[in-house]
Subunit: 310 residues, 2 copies
């Protein structure tokens, strides 16, 4: 597998686990790193003390490199970054904000930086900021989504053409076919979220995982298209939001209606009606809860098999 990513991030396989609020904890991240990928603690919703605990726990569970994800616009961002840098976390993945915010400081602290982008302009900006890896995330990805709706198929080659740093593809990758496709497009790695959410090691509520298993190709929708797009599984909450949007309800009214704690309701409580179940379009491709090591082995072996067959 031709890729600069393992060398840059100090990992065996160029497979990253996406940061997922309430889901990508130390246990999941350590399992991914132990299996040769890059596990990432999704720290966006965590106060500093929790981040510190999760990092310490991941350290106990693996001696391999792992990352911490910081959504740059999170109110906790500075605290998360300072904690991760202070504790010598090897990799910082940043998203949802200006890559200038943390890149230089992270690199001074000896961290490698991977930044998520959803269009070419952001990719150029990330390279200028000095990131080590760019994660190009397409419209099919779960959770927070770009406004430009550029799909992985067209985003990856355009980002690859625009920058020199290695590009990791995210969005729509559920199995080895997606990984092989990503490499054909010029990516040197993949980032998967939903596939790792539906793993044995993931702390997501069992009903969340069941919901993904029972999903089909049409099961996800984008809510908040006009003010903050998020891809979620279609449920009562999603339908309510879509209806309000269709009726022209003001964004602030919609956000008031959504309130807070919807991810907790989904991830921790498994509240099928009232939770916000973020998921990529790949949900329809996931038919079994698997261990993280099996997922990664299937990706790597499947990749080789597919390329050989082509």
């Amino acid at each position: 597998m031709k890729s600069r990513v393992p060398g840059v991030l100090g990992i065996e396989h160029p497979i990253l686990q996406g940061g997922m609020i309430w889901v990508s904890d130390a246990v999941l991240a350590a399992a991914v790193s132990e299996a040769g990928g890059l596990g990432v603690i999704g720290a966006g919703g965590m106060p500093t003390e929790t981040v510190r605990e999760e990092i310490a726990k991941a350290r106990e569970l693996t001696s391999k490199p792992f990352g911490v994800n910081v959504p740059i616009l999170s109110p906790y961002a500075e605290g998360i970054f300072a904690t991760a840098a202070d504790m010598g976390v090897p990799v910082l993945t940043t998203s949802a904000g200006n890559p200038m915010t943390f890149t230089a400081r992270a690199r001074e602290a000896g961290m490698k930086v991977a930044h998520v982008v959803s269009n070419v302009r952001m990719a150029r900006k990330a390279q200028e900021a000095g990131v080590d890896v760019i994660i190009a995330e397409g419209y099919e990805a779960g959770g927070h989504n770009g406004f430009d709706e550029i799909t992985t198929m067209v985003l990856v080659p355009q980002v690859v053409d625009a920058v020199d740093v290695p590009v990791v593809a995210a969005g729509g990758i559920g199995d080895a076919r997606g990984m092989a496709a990503a490499f054909a497009l010029g990516a040197e790695g993949v980032q998967l979220g939903t596939r790792f959410l539906a793993s044995l090691e993931s702390p997501a509520h069992p009903r969340y995982k069941e919901l993904i298993l029972s999903s089909g190709d049409c099961s996800t929708v984008i809510t908040g298209r006009a003010f903050g797009p998020v891809r979620v599984l279609r449920n009562r909450l999603a339908e309510t939001i879509l209806q309000a949007e269709g009726e022209g309800m003001a964004p602030e009214k919609i956000q008031e209606m959504i309130g807070s704690g919807r991810s907790v309701k989904a991830c921790l409580e498994g509240d099928m009606d009232e939770g916000s179940f973020m998921s990529g379009q790949v949900a329809g491709m996931i038919g079994e809860i698997k261990g993280v090591r099996e997922i990664i082995t299937e990706l790597v072996e499947g990749y080789e098999r597919i390329i050989a067959a082509l």
Copy 2:
């Protein structure tokens, strides 16, 4: 290149040209077929007499197989189909409607049938109807688009898993990287629209072609999301429609505002403000007007080079 498509359709390379209203005429279709792909006359907007003339003209220009595209819900659909069947056109590609409508009759007339789908349910239905090839078209595709917004990256493997007939990938394929990715996902062929629109042989207005060359990754938008999604290049008309949609204008009012003849304004008149310039997201990847034969040769040779490099 492992593919059943050349055998089924009687062509050299598994590369299809998408039907494009006012663009895919006999000249473009014949050029694609002459270069070893499947040229397709996009007959959706053509009265029967014009279809007859275009088919006759294509026959003069090439002795190789070509196709006629029928959008099933077009008011001209029955007439187009009857003309194509009567004149012994080798391939019928159908879209935007029930695959039962023409498939059996077309096959009785000795035609091969390829049907465009945008989700798994439609793919199963097409296979039941007896089509020879299924074209799985993702959200990134230009022109009329599915309501489900499933991207090529996730649509293709799910359709491949659901049916036994060969699957051709459409949407987001602008160069050999996209073609290699499509095959990695399990497709046995590709269909390209926008890339052929921006070819020397295409009859699209020069300003239409220029507009594609100057496009970036964020240049297309979906209009009519609620009542009939169409992917177009962002211009004054598109902005006007988006604004009306955002303000909650009723679909019938919007359609009244759009009126008819917008494609003619784009394709034939090159009216940059008032025309509807349909295009896929790949517009941002197209930097040069090329001859059809060069486009196809680059796809085939590039594919081999990419697979070898992987």
